[in-house]
Subunit: 397 residues, 2 copies
Amino acid sequence: MPRQALRFSGMSFPQSGAPLAGLTVIDLGRVLAAPFATSTLASLGARVIKVEHPDRGDDSRAFGPHVGGHSVYFASVNCDKESIALDLTCAADRAAFEMLLTHADVLVENFRPGTLARLGYPWERLHASHPRLIYAAVSGFGTTGPLAENPAYDIIAQALSGMMSITGHAGAPPVRVGASIGDLVAGLYLALGIVSAVHRRTATGEGCMIDVAMLDSQVAFLEAAITAHTAAGTDPQQRGTRHPSIAPFQAFECADRWIVLAAGNDHLFHELCAAIGRPEVAAEQRFATNASRLANVEALDAQISATLRTEPAQHWIAALHRAGVPCALIQTVSEMIRMEQVRARNMIIPIDDPQMPGASVPNTPIKMSGFDVATTRRRPPRLDEHGDALRREFGLG
Amino acid sequence: MPRQALRFSGMSFPQSGAPLAGLTVIDLGRVLAAPFATSTLASLGARVIKVEHPDRGDDSRAFGPHVGGHSVYFASVNCDKESIALDLTCAADRAAFEMLLTHADVLVENFRPGTLARLGYPWERLHASHPRLIYAAVSGFGTTGPLAENPAYDIIAQALSGMMSITGHAGAPPVRVGASIGDLVAGLYLALGIVSAVHRRTATGEGCMIDVAMLDSQVAFLEAAITAHTAAGTDPQQRGTRHPSIAPFQAFECADRWIVLAAGNDHLFHELCAAIGRPEVAAEQRFATNASRLANVEALDAQISATLRTEPAQHWIAALHRAGVPCALIQTVSEMIRMEQVRARNMIIPIDDPQMPGASVPNTPIKMSGFDVATTRRRPPRLDEHGDALRREFGLG
């Protein structure tokens, strides 16, 4: 494929061809799941107006570390947004909020279910007064079912869903996935639900309510575990870094650090053994097929490990690359940031904030022809930074 | 909020009000990332036509375990799809494929970059002959950059991105997230890119190419790690189950099994200590604030662990629930499947396949008013099962 023909030329904000340009999102979100969803929509061109409480704003503004007085955590999911401070228990601010909604396509929140209704904005009322509005809520357990009103954090969703039960080493203390995938996966499903609802509205003219739960989203991310259990009675296990149905496909320790490799078929297994100078391992009957390698995975692990730990990782990476065996260093975040591939994809871009020099955020991984990739992101808003401008623009009084 | 007002009544396929109804997706995907993306689109109402090689079809049809002769793994991401067998190196089948494209909105694939172009279908040619077609490709590293043509599997993306470096216990062997989030996150971003491109096409009339990389998608899922490193110089660590900025927020071992709990503020910490009969722990100066609890997290862990391991998990779950402290069992997948909440949300639904009795798959976590939730999914297609019907419907000759 003539890949050069598909260029993702870098451009500063505003971007041309953004697929969600023209879409206005009112964001009541705090901390992670909803702000991540709206950050994702912003990176595709939506206008996101963050409505925050006048006292402290989004809770995550208080999360350390702070640089130049501003939270690094908050910055990571609130670039490219505007902020207006409104107290939804105060009449004048309620009027302003309602006026904002008349100009909005989407309202996003991640309060505990029932909170927005108690503030006087149940879905029925929102829908009656703003029939085109899409109301998107993300919560721990969703708006229905016996646990609907229970609080949840990422670790609760990871624990209840079974995700923690299939992550880590058998017999060792449990492991939480290091990123808060309980929130992030739910936020990404919410974003997909929102754009799908916008598409439907083009035909029907009508908005809808979207209800995404962190628990449900983790359940949807268990790969084949649910089907395997219900169809074949297996209960999936913790396997460290090992793949449940391919061997070898795991991490190995070299003289200095760890690598991963994946020999997905017999040919690659032979190449692997030759590349590490152990062709006799590939000739053993007990390692002849993927099925037999899986059945003897501990013995296989011992054979390969004994060799790999004699030389540093880069030695083996070079040898395996020459042999065409997929492999990689287990990198730190700072090593990843320095990768030429990550730079070429423009995946880490600076925030244009002199008060947080050098601070960068991930770019959208959705590269699209006709949509110029951003090369910076607008810094996260200070609390109520755009309040006056928004009041003028929308006549909020 | 009057939650009862928002009902997600169960219905069998076909569903009414599906947001992507009317959208036709041609799916050349194999194994996971692309099939997961199209499975997600199918659960929102898109019609997905799987084009498979006549010899063996999708590689994952061979993945064990098999029930009734059919792969459980394949079933987990290929429900609600049709299958037609076409050999894209054979002239008659190429003509059929091209005819299919004239009726399609989206073409999805996860070949190594360049493969489809070598088969005679570079993006430029697809776009020239089918200007409204959206061409969505997902690969390990994307179509650009020095690693574009390298192979990648889930474990490679998890290792290179830094995701593995922040998951697991410091000093212990590495851990791969038990589900293949390298593929799944990329697939979900691909689905979001596709629906966003469909939305843009409504205005412009023009299709586009979408290019999503597994590595990029993992980078976008590192939460605040990139911003923290670039702004504050921190390199995020492996923390087992601990939260980087809240304590206590982690797993604890009880007499029989593990639980997680999350005391996100001073009030909840006091409630926690009282609920486990250790109010004196909350009175200690070194545990007075979240910052001091974080600084003394090992000592705090020791104090709480000493008590929790004296009684079984259900004892503590009950006590903590009464006190309003968010907590949960670390459940297996089979325990999750039996949860009343999961049933109430209709999150696990059966495949209507007598040859795979009892087999179930996750439902979509996107609940939407006016869109009836499915209560079954159509079983995955046998290879070329819909070939004849599709040839008649689209005049494929």
